[in-house]
């Protein structure tokens, strides 16, 4: 049976998860941008590279995440 359509103005599961993300330690979008080039090179050079502040910011900010993924893709093919 097809579930009924989700009515507008509710909190779908994706939104609940997005609202409850733990984005600490705090990193601003400007700081993310400043670090993005070195972060991307570190990720490409060392696939297991881990930077908690960057990782959490990128999970919590869709725009920065898209731009970081794009930079990885561009540099990987460069």
């Amino acid at each position: 049976m097809t579930p009924p359509p989700t009515p507008p103005h509710v909190l779908p599961p994706g939104a609940v998860a997005a609202l409850l993300l733990d984005t600490t330690p705090y990193l601003s979008c400007d700081e993310c941008f400043e670090r993005m080039d070195t972060h991307v090179e570190a990720v490409l050079d060392e696939p297991g590279h881990h930077d908690l502040a960057m990782d959490r910011h990128l999970v919590g900010c869709a725009a920065c995440a898209e731009e970081a993924q794009s930079l990885i893709a561009l540099c990987a093919g460069h």
Binding site: L11, P13, A17, D37, A63, E66, E67
Partner: protein, 242 residues
């Protein structure tokens, strides 16, 4: 007629790599010195830098082409060129801050990617209204399904989050959170409409998340030591449990 540049911009990045010479051919070894110099050396460096900007902007517009209201070659050409020009201006203003901790090309690419992505999002939303609304608590599901336990827990958590949004957040925080995280308005689009900036809105959302997590942890919906990485939208913890 599509220009050569326009055709290149409609190719996938992998195709571009196959048909174009490497961007580093003939570029200065020391970008900062060359760009800061004068005369022919500077002009050559500026042209090489612009090529980098165009390449990165084209790459970004390609990634987001499905969001464009008009992805015709001529329109893409204009978007890419404008983004490349603006990114180059932004980069040159920041040139003195380049410390060589990454390759110059990587550092330069990020300016064009940021600008092109922002431009595409703005075009995507240029004819769309951004509604700054509060959450409609009446429409948050109550006992939505007779289905599996996890579904009931999910609805329970959704109600708890909605309640926390009502009691723990300011109206501004609620509206920003709903616009960004429920309605999916891009952060730079919302920033532009509100006369704000990406940093300020992200900080607002960060504070929203912190307050919601604190409240839901206190009420037993989230485990005390939970972290973002193990967050489950249908957690096993239920109201009143720890």
């Amino acid at each position: 007629m599509v220009s050569d540049i326009g055709r290149e911009r409609l190719l996938a990045p992998s195709d571009q790599g196959a048909t174009r010479p490497p961007a580093d051919d003939g570029v200065p070894e020391d970008w900062v010195s060359a760009l800061s110099s004068s005369g022919a050396d500077q002009q050559a460096a500026m042209r090489a830098l612009h090529d980098l900007m165009v390449r990165a902007a084209a790459h970004q517009v390609w990634r987001m082409r499905s969001a464009l209201p008009d992805a015709s070659p001529g329109t893409v050409d204009v978007i890419v060129n404008q983004a490349a020009d603006e990114a180059m201006t932004a980069l040159l203003r920041k040139l003195h801050t380049f410390e060589g901790r990454s390759r110059f090309t990587t550092w330069a690419f990020k300016f064009a990617i940021l600008q092109a992505a922002t431009d595409v999002r703005r075009l995507q939303w240029q004819h769309r209204e951004v509604e700054l609304r509060d959450l409609d608590l009446e429409r948050v599901p109550h006992d939505t399904h007779d289905g599996p336990e996890r579904q009931a827990e999910g609805a329970d958590l959704a109600r708890a989050v909605a309640g926390a949004m009502d009691t723990c957040l300011t109206p501004h925080q609620r509206r920003v959170a709903v616009a960004l995280l429920v309605d999916g308005v891009p952060i730079d689009v919302l920033a532009e409409r509100l006369g704000s900036n990406r940093n300020a809105l992200y900080k607002t959302v960060h504070d929203v998340r912190r307050r919601l997590r604190e409240d839901l942890t206190q009420r037993g919906y989230l485990p005390v030591d939970s972290s973002r990485t193990d967050l489950d939208p249908h957690p096993h913890a239920t109201a009143g449990s720890s």
